[in-house]
Amino acid sequence: MANGVVLTNNGEEWASERLAGVQGAGTNNVFGNNGAFVEHGTGTTTPAKGDTATQTKVDSATSTSVTTTGTGASCKYQATATVACGSTAAITEVSLLSASVGVLFIHAVFTAINVVSGDSIAYTITIDPS
């Protein structure tokens, strides 16, 4: 396993269509979606462009805040979500999707965070175009 975060192939389609403001030739129909679903899991395989789902989903956020931060050259896309942990687990991956069981835009794998039931993890996912 290697830690990392990728904008998936479907994520590239999403970003391009969001910039253009139109539905392109792709079949995901997500150009109107702002990436408002976050879930985490225990998968450890290095994230890849072709990923289409969280490897081993454990919990998901009940809501995700999507906004931009900064202006001009420092402007960034930012999604923030708090995922409540329902059981003891070693969390190693997080995903940004269009919806529950939706299109995977961003997939990250990282060093394990050991949690127990009642813990939460507050994630901030940032895309900086420059």
Binding site: F110, A122, Y123
Partner: protein, 51 residues
């Protein structure tokens, strides 16, 4: 310097470079928090044909 490098990369066929970052904070059941900082970083389209 960074902008110059990006221009050179664009001239030789590299796609524009963006980046992604994931940060996290654990909120423990007792209410205390642990800031984990940056968990992962990634580039957007670093190389032509990176897919």
């Amino acid at each position: 310097m960074r902008n110059l490098l990006k221009r050179v990369m664009a001239l030789i066929g590299f796609k524009p470079v963006g980046s992604m970052m994931l940060t996290a904070t654990v909120i423990h059941a007792d209410g205390t928090t642990t800031d984990l900082g940056t968990l992962a970083k990634g580039k957007v389209n670093m190389r032509p044909g990176a897919k």
